[in-house]
């Protein structure tokens, strides 16, 4: 019985998120635009996340290279290391790791921020002051996450590839030119474009889920904590689901 109730709750939640998303498209996109707040959120969400994303991307590139090397050496294709690492980073590791870190940092902060605003009636105060909180708070944040995550991913990819270059150089020597050439020779638009396009959706998911959770936070500090936590969990799961969809769509479109 409880399972049925939980399933119903799950469906209810899904329906609410869908409604929330629809509201973003019907309300959030129309004028008037909160440009100032949008830029402010872009700064907070994009620029402030760069150090964290950069650090994780660098370590990921380095570690991935060092982990892949032994098996490539076993097959005698060590020279293909830059190609392997480059493809892995650009197609999958870069976008997904960046999005997960992003979900951890931004999803939780949006969830907590909107949650506490909800709890301390700041959202009501906005409504009273003639500001549509959905536009001012939700639309700006969702737009900012959607726009910033692809940019973070590109920068993250670049840093990650640099990490990979250092990783290659730990055990053997390759020039930066050669590494660069090998990586880019193996890359095609069909590798880069789907990867960047899917990060738009990752960012959108992180923004929508964070805002939804915060916006519907229950009273009390516990409610804020739950919002922040469930925002991270749900957006991380969403990222993987979107990733799965993305790979199938690109497969269908024959871009793989």
């Amino acid at each position: 019985m409880s399972l049925v109730i939980r399933f119903k709750n799950f469906l209810d939640e899904t329906g609410n998120i869908a409604r929330f998303t629809a509201r973003f498209f019907s309300v959030g996109i129309k004028p008037r635009y909160e440009n100032k707040e949008l830029f402010n959120q872009c700064y907070i969400i994009g620029y402030r996340s760069l150090p964290l994303v950069g650090l994780t991307a660098f370590i990921m590139g380095l570690v991935l290279t060092m982990q892949l090397r032994p098996s490539l050496v076993d097959y005698g294709v060590e020279s293909q290391l830059p190609v392997m690492v480059g493809l892995a980073i650009v197609r999958e590791i870069g976008p997904v790791i960046t999005a997960l870190i992003f979900a951890g940092k931004i999803g939780s902060s949006i969830g907590a921020e909107l949650g506490s605003m909800k709890v301390t009636e700041q959202i009501d105060a906005m409504t009273v002051s003639g500001i549509k909180p959905f536009k001012y708070l939700v639309a700006t944040r969702v737009l900012a996450t959607t726009l910033m995550l692809p940019l973070l991913t590109i920068l993250g990819d670049a840093i990650s590839l640099f990490g990979a270059y250092l990783g290659v150089n730990i055990r053997s020597v390759t020039s930066f030119d050669l590494f660069f050439l090998q990586v880019f020779k193996s890359l095609d638009f069909s590798d880069v474009l789907p990867a960047i396009i899917k990060t738009l959706f990752f960012g959108f998911a992180v923004g929508i889920v964070g805002c939804y959770k915060g916006f519907n936070s229950t009273k009390g500090t516990q409610g804020v904590g739950i919002s922040a936590n469930s925002a991270v969990v749900l957006s991380s799961v969403m990222i993987f689901i979107i990733d799965l969809l993305a790979v199938q769509i690109t497969e269908l479109m024959g871009l793989n």
Binding site: T120, E121, Q122, D124, A125, M126, T127, V128, S129, I131
Partner: protein, 247 residues
């Protein structure tokens, strides 16, 4: 007690609001006249906050009507609501100052929203004036987190007043403050109200506050207007339900 009939500002008729099966407001009636302070008394959870949130349109009532300046809040679209809201001030229980903004920005925020074509000088002047009224001019560029509870309440009051609303709704303005600060806030409310000639609905269970500010006291019980009268009238009452507030 004034007996002459003044122009009504807010007229509430048969207001019903339910959350699930629980009817919080069940046929509530109230008329607020221009220039009068109405205090709504009630136990926690009796629906006082719900009532004023219905008045400003944060909550949608289930049935009944709320007329504010002769417009029915529950039938307005968003733009009309915004229009009506610009004439209504709301002081939140938790102040609801935007903690990501400085005090100045907090005060500017509603100004820039409601009066779109306002000049920069005008904004500056109004913000200064509002802060001066609450003696907090020096906090202009501070963040809300740097201020004490009493100061925050005063800033919130300044923000509510900055649009010169004709009706102000106070949600427990003195709750959580020490008696001295409470007195200050009460005096400020009266002072600003006199200055702006506004009416107000105050939610409180602080009897000192009620005593100092009320022209009319309304007791909210089981979703209905149980009784109403001046502070003195109610204090004399022998009704158990009324008496418990004055003990």
């Amino acid at each position: 007690m004034e007996t002459e009939i003044k122009e009504p500002v807010i007229v509430i008729k048969d207001l019903v609001k339910a959350f699930g099966d629980k009817k919080v407001l069940d046929g509530f009636n109230l008329t607020v006249e221009k220039g009068s302070n109405v205090v709504i008394l009630g136990k926690s959870g009796s629906g006082k906050s719900v009532l004023i949130k219905c008045i400003i349109g944060l909550l949608q009532s289930d049935s009944g009507s709320i007329l504010v300046f002769k417009g029915n809040i529950s039938q307005m679209n968003e733009d009309e609501l915004d229009q009506a809201r610009s004439k209504i001030g709301f002081l939140f229980q938790s102040n609801a100052l935007y903690d990501s903004m400085t005090i100045r920005e907090n005060l500017e925020f509603p100004l820039l929203r409601h009066w779109v074509d306002i000049t920069k000088e005008e904004v500056e002047r109004l913000v200064n004036e509002a802060l001066e009224n609450v003696d907090l001019l020096h906090t202009m560029d501070m963040m809300p987190s740097e201020l004490s509870g009493g100061m925050l309440k005063r800033v919130a009051l300044a923000r509510t007043m900055i649009l010169r609303p004709e009706v102000i709704l106070y949600d427990e303005p003195t709750t959580g403050l020490d008696p001295v600060t409470s007195r200050e806030i009460e005096n400020l409310i009266l002072k600003l109200q006199k200055k702006n000639h506004s009416s107000s609905i105050i939610i409180s269970h602080d009897m000192n506050c009620v005593k100092n500010t009320a022209d009319l006291v309304v007791l909210l019980l089981e979703g209905k207007c149980y009784t109403k009268g001046t502070y003195e009238e109610l204090k004399q009452s022998t009704d158990e339900n009324i008496k418990q507030f004055f003990e």
